[in-house]
Subunit: 193 residues, 2 copies
């Protein structure tokens, strides 16, 4: 009768950062023991194996992202300004030296696609949920007459998701703030037309 001592959220966030930085394959268990300050046995007891840690870290990542998103869009203010601010925040992440400038979900799905069906599915589900979250905002914008119904909320959400995935990838080849800002502005125009 003894209770686990470590802080699960802290451990998963540390793991999350490592996986984002090094990728799934190149994040060794040794690295994970270092960043979490847990011994192998504890990690295996808590998460079964490396894949278990990864899946739990993804869950934490998504929870954190949802929180961030909810904070930004909670107000019953106009949707579009929030959306613009959100897109700009992605640009800010991209130009920051931070390792979180890449998205754990897209980076991981690109890595494990065709190798691990279960992980791929989880990642895909989370990214689809993200797209749906975006679509909700576009629906709100339609209800508030901020955008036309020329395109459906779903269509706009898809295009924005594609654009943001692309923006993060593009930023790996060109990290100039002005260029990324321009792309973000053009993307905003495209999805609000």
């Amino acid at each position: 009768m003894r209770v686990a001592e470590f802080d699960r959220e802290y451990v998963l966030r540390q793991a999350m950062i490592a996986f984002t930085q090094y990728g799934y394959a190149k994040t060794s268990m040794q690295k994970l023991t270092q960043v979490t300050a847990l011994h192998p046995g504890s990690l295996y007891a808590a998460f079964k194996n490396k894949k278990g840690i990864f899946l739990a870290a993804i869950e934490q990542y998504q929870a954190d992202r949802n929180q961030q998103f909810t904070n930004l869009f909670c107000a019953d203010k106009a949707v579009l300004p929030n959306l613009k601010a959100y897109i700009d925040s992605v640009v800010a992440e991209c130009v920051s030296g931070d390792s979180m400038k890449v998205c754990l979900l897209t980076k991981s799905i690109s890595e494990v696609e065709g190798q691990d069906e279960q992980i791929s599915q989880v990642l895909s589900d989370n990214l689809n949920a993200y797209e749906n979250t975006l679509a909700e905002q576009f629906n709100r914008a339609i209800l508030k007459n901020e955008i036309t119904t020329e395109y459906t909320a779903k269509q706009r959400a898809r295009f924005l998701a594609m654009g943001l995935y692309g923006l993060r990838t593009y930023a790996l080849t060109n990290n100039k703030r002005d260029d990324l800002k321009q792309l973000a502005d053009d993307l905003y125009i495209a999805i609000t037309k």
Copy 2:
């Protein structure tokens, strides 16, 4: 006095496919000996090490891509129809089960970013060259009055590059042909407006 027996292009294309499918880290030398039908010693003699094989494969990939591109855009016909066909060909690649549905360059840069500065630089250079190739086409389109000068060729090329990177990533989360086609059509509209 003896000449190497293997077909360098064949070997590199096989390596290229493996790297695209499994990623850099998870493509083992054993796998490479299998797909190239070469023994370790031969591979090391010809390419120095795994990284050497990878860099050579990237070079081959880019050469092949340039060839494909030149074939598509060689004609002094109108630019936009060719561009549309090119974008649609990316959609076709995305929905195909083929392992080449992902781009070796973007997948690799996402993987090795922050791990190997030399490889990152090579990939970044190649992707920038790709962007410039796209910009050339937009310049031609401007000269032929197919598009306005509201946006520069460079701007349009950047937006298209971003869109295509995003499209390939998005396809990993949603492989429905209609949705991807719609995104491609919307992307085409955005860059030719």
